[in-house]
């Protein structure tokens, strides 16, 4: 069954059962995943999956049902079930479809669907993965093992239909190649690291050889690591770690956390919460973006938002529900807010999430960002879940390289970095010019004036 027709069928099932309004999201995803290990094919997976999730509203009461069975009877049944559940739910005036003012035709976003998807053969992916892995082994003789090199190709189709007549569909592709290498030192201790490339368009992936070489470089530079003494020092985040940090800050700017009072930034709208060097943007319309979306998961008009504009907290991210909730309980937090940031799984309500989130590039080269540090820590990986966006506590495991007199030195592992998120934001002392959109969350190299590194 056509996806949009399936979504409409589920909506019809809900309204026929008494729902005042309803919407349904239908997804279909095809995916090929291939793993090469030590030159041979290890796993080959083919997936073809689909499903429909339907939300039904009776006034402010809502119910949700979903199914992977796309027959008309099953879709109608899911719609009816959602309407029945809504009858039992509590009344919340914030629940419901997006306000008409926030509806809009789906945007045209370039470069997110590869027209050649159907003609890409598995053999091409296998060849790329083999080439990537071979390059890692060839780059350095200390690379002794491989955890596997994975090639993935996927196309996802989405359709959204609502009882107010909104309908939209989109289609996107995604390719990735990831090499994971293991290096061994003279003592037999193993180190593992890797590199990847990811793009909506196959031809825009980095060459496999370059990915393999970079995986080897990242892995080998971890050899000969040592712990450091506990102390407070300047810390430089590599682009990957800076991106994770951007994601953590954005989580505190999501409507869900605002109306629940679970964000350390909840009452700071309009204030200078960060260094003027820091601009943090969410842009769902970015051409070629891995997180781009022509419409959000409830059909609200997506738009670019500067969450932080030169250090000033300018916008929060909302879906319709969290915007209404926040506006009712804390009008100041919702001032000027718009929806458009809804995400949604098939089986749940909408939640607020980022699309393409990135820190705008600064003026300095990454070498200069590092070069200004006499004694500090260049972090290439963080581990664990130690970020609390309600309190602002930040404490994570970390690995990287020690900076001495402006240059990268020995590898460091088994340490933690900790600070208060407010102090980290204010303490952003340099932003690099090396922004690349490698993932849906991206950032350049960033230096933070001071954090506690806990080691020996």
């Amino acid at each position: 069954m056509d996806l949009l027709a399936a979504a409409k069928e589920a909506v019809a099932g809900a309204t026929a059962a008494g729902a005042g309004s309803a919407d349904a999201l239908a997804l279909e995803r095809r995916e090929t995943s291939l793993t090469i290990r030590r030159g041979d094919l290890e796993t080959s997976q083919e997936a073809e999956t689909r499903g429909v999730g339907v939300r039904a509203f009776r006034g402010g009461r809502s119910g949700i049902a979903y199914t992977t069975d796309l027959t008309p009877e099953s879709l109608r049944r899911a719609g009816r079930q959602a309407a029945d559940l809504a009858a039992l739910a509590g009344m919340d005036p914030a629940a419901g479809l997006p306000d008409p003012a926030f509806r809009g035709a789906p945007a045209a976003v370039e470069g997110i669907d590869d027209p050649d998807y159907e003609s890409v053969e598995a053999s091409r992916g296998i060849a790329m993965a083999k080439e990537g892995e071979a390059a890692a082994f060839a780059a350095d003789r200390r690379v002794v093992n491989s955890e596997g090199t994975q090639f993935e190709a996927a196309r996802q189709r989405t359709a959204l239909a609502a009882s107010d007549g909104f309908e939209a569909r989109s289609q996107r592709t995604r390719y990735s190649l990831a090499v994971m290498a293991l290096a061994e030192d003279e003592g037999g201790a193993l180190q593992r690291d890797g590199w990847y490339t990811c793009s909506p368009i196959l031809a825009r992936l980095d060459p496999p050889e370059a990915v393999g070489r970079e995986a080897a470089r990242r892995c080998v530079r971890r050899l000969g690591w040592r712990k450091v003494e506990t102390r407070r020092v300047p810390v430089v985040f590599s682009p990957e770690v800076a991106a994770a940090f951007a994601g953590e800050v954005a989580r505190a700017c999501c409507g869900d956390a605002l109306f629940r009072g679970a964000s350390f930034l909840a009452d700071s709208l309009g204030e200078a919460v960060a260094s003027p060097l820091l601009t943090l943007v969410d842009d769902p319309l970015l051409a070629g973006g891995l997180g781009s979306r022509p419409f959000d998961a409830e059909g609200a008009r997506p738009a670019r938002k500067a969450v932080l504009d030169r250090g000033i907290l300018r916008s929060f991210l909302f879906d319709s529900f969290s915007l209404r909730k926040t506006a009712a309980a804390f009008p100041a937090r919702a001032a000027g807010g718009t929806p458009g940031n809804a995400t949604r799984g098939l089986g749940g309500p909408t939640a607020v999430g980022t699309s393409n989130l990135f820190v705008e590039a600064g003026a300095e080269t990454p070498e200069a960002v590092i070069g200004a540090v006499q004694d500090g820590f260049y972090v290439t990986e963080t581990l664990g879940f130690g970020v609390n966006t309600a309190t602002g506590d930040y404490s994570k495991g970390a690995a990287g390289l020690w900076i001495r007199d402006g240059a990268l030195g020995h590898a460091v592992q088994e340490v933690t970095i900790a600070a208060d998120l407010r102090a980290m934001l204010r303490g952003v002392a340099a932003v690099g010019n090396d922004l690349e959109f490698r993932s849906s969350v991206s950032a350049p190299t960033i230096r933070i004036a001071e954090m506690t590194v806990s080691g020996n």
Partner: protein
């Protein structure tokens, strides 16, 4: 061979007779291969969320599909479909078959049903209890959390239940059916106090149980515990930074074990030489006080299975005995390639995923020490009582885990609560640094979920009070 039961061999959920199943296995092995299996899954789920005493979310859904796996040497081919008609299933089987490069000489044995255990009988299936009655459990937890302390600002309670009906059909003639219930209850509390900021904490419970679960542990108890934790950390002190002795409280702290030695002892990592513990069987890898077991047969536990996801019976498997490494957790592929016995640890998230070696319920056995005595032996250190998660790097054995309830220990007593903090260490170092093991063994209460290669599965962990000589504590204080 026993007579096959009358058609359909599977039940109403999967109305297929043995001819269909045997033909699918034949398709799967049509290009050769050592082994093939079919995994049928039907999952009925329901979720309720109460927030501000309002039933905010009521969800229900049905997910069904089947996956086909083909093993050929070290290769795995996998495909799945949600379109449960013979043509689509045969297409999936032929796709999975492509991983093998030979011709279909493999005979498929006649399929017959094999008995499985009954580890999780459910007295009061949540799905059969009227919604209004189910909501009452959420309301009770919410009210108890609110009345626990005036600083409780917001309470969110969620109850999720699922019944997974699965059938594994193997090319060596086995058919294994199981009905796997799961109940998950979670109370999240946001506490606020002027001048001391806010804090979030949660407490949960459940397992492969029905609503009879609440006869043993009331919703009020869970709600109060969540509130206690949320309020406790308001205005808590900065955790110290640097290496310190750490005492792990009983139960949930087993997450440390899960990360530090659990993952590194999964057979696939070891077969491929990727783990710190590869080729170390028979060697001393931990303090002699440590005996570590993975046991998929713990009655009604979240990590338990009557039969694993590739048809092997679950069992208690000793991994480390008195500090010496004695075994790995195996799935069918790793067991066959290394000549080991399958241990019932072949698990998968769903029909969309091929199985791999995974933990079930992993625990450290009780030791000789009184928990009070353990605490008294520490002059200055950290007591870790509750955790939000952990992560490990298999090759080095380095792991972190995030403590959400921590106390400073001074002169043998817990003195002050600390803010949330990350602990980092190296698995082998930590396991060798186990200095005391308590006699107060406890399993965690049913909320653990483990991720590996993108697949999530429910697990249990357990641990008595344990003292570790030194772990790096990632705070900011002195």
């Amino acid at each position: 061979m026993p007579e096959a039961p009358p058609a359909p061999l599977l039940d109403a959920v999967f109305p297929f007779d043995r001819t269909v199943l045997e033909r699918l296995l034949g398709e799967a092995l049509s290009r050769g291969g050592d082994f093939a299996d079919l995994y049928f899954e039907h999952r009925a789920e329901a979720g309720l969320t109460l927030e501000e005493d309002l039933l905010r979310e009521a969800t229900a859904g049905v997910v069904a599909g089947m996956g086909v796996r083909v093993l050929s040497g070290e290769r795995t081919g996998y495909a799945y479909t949600e379109d449960l008609v013979p043509e689509s299933m045969a297409r999936a089987a032929r796709t999975a078959a492509l991983v093998a490069a030979g011709t279909g000489e493999e005979a498929v044995l006649g399929v017959s049903e094999k008995p499985v255990k009954d580890l999780y009988p459910v007295r009061r299936p949540a799905g059969e209890v009227p919604l209004a009655e189910r909501v009452e459990f959420l309301r009770r937890a919410s009210a108890a959390a609110r009345s626990h302390d005036a600083r409780v600002a917001r309470v969110i309670v969620a109850l999720r239940d699922e019944v997974k009906t699965v059938a594994v059909v193997t090319s060596d003639g086995g058919l294994y059916r199981d009905r796997q219930p799961m109940l998950m209850f979670r109370v999240s509390v946001i506490a606020e106090e002027a001048g001391k900021g806010r804090n979030v904490a949660s407490e949960g419970g459940g397992g492969r149980v029905g609503l009879e679960y609440f006869e043993g542990r009331s919703p009020e108890e869970i709600g109060r515990e969540a509130a206690r934790k949320a309020v406790l950390a308001l205005g808590a002190a900065e955790a110290p930074a640097g290496p310190l002795p750490v005492v792990l409280g009983p139960g949930w702290s087993g997450i440390l074990l899960h990360e530090a030695v659990g993952h590194p002892l999964e057979a696939d990592f070891n077969r491929k030489g990727l783990s710190r513990y590869s080729r170390k069987i028979g060697q001393k890898v931990a303090s002699p006080l440590c005996t570590v077991v993975d046991d998929g047969t713990v009655a009604s536990s979240r990590g338990s299975l009557n039969v694993d996801d590739e048809g092997n019976p679950t069992a208690p498997t000793t991994l480390i005995r008195d500090g010496v490494l004695v075994g790995y957790m195996q799935d069918r592929l790793s067991a066959r390639l290394t000549g080991a016995r399958a241990t019932g640890n072949g698990r998968r998230e769903s029909y969309a995923h091929p199985p791999m070696p995974r933990m079930t319920n992993t625990y450290l056995a009780a030791g000789p020490h009184d928990p009070e005595e353990i605490l008294r032996s520490v002059r200055r250190g950290v007591y870790a009582a509750s955790f939000s998660g952990g992560q490990v790097d298999i090759s080095k054995g380095d792991f972190v885990f995030s403590v959400t309830e921590a106390w400073l220990i001074e002169d043998g007593r817990k003195t002050r609560p600390l803010r949330g903090v990350t602990l980092i260490g190296n698995g082998p170092d930590i396991m060798n640094g186990v200095e005391m093991v308590g006699n107060d063994f406890r399993f965690s209460d049913g909320v653990g979920t483990c991720g590996k290669n993108g697949q999530m599965v429910p697990v249990g962990v357990g641990l008595p009070t344990v003292k570790i000589a030194s772990i790096t504590v990632g705070g900011t204080g002195g």
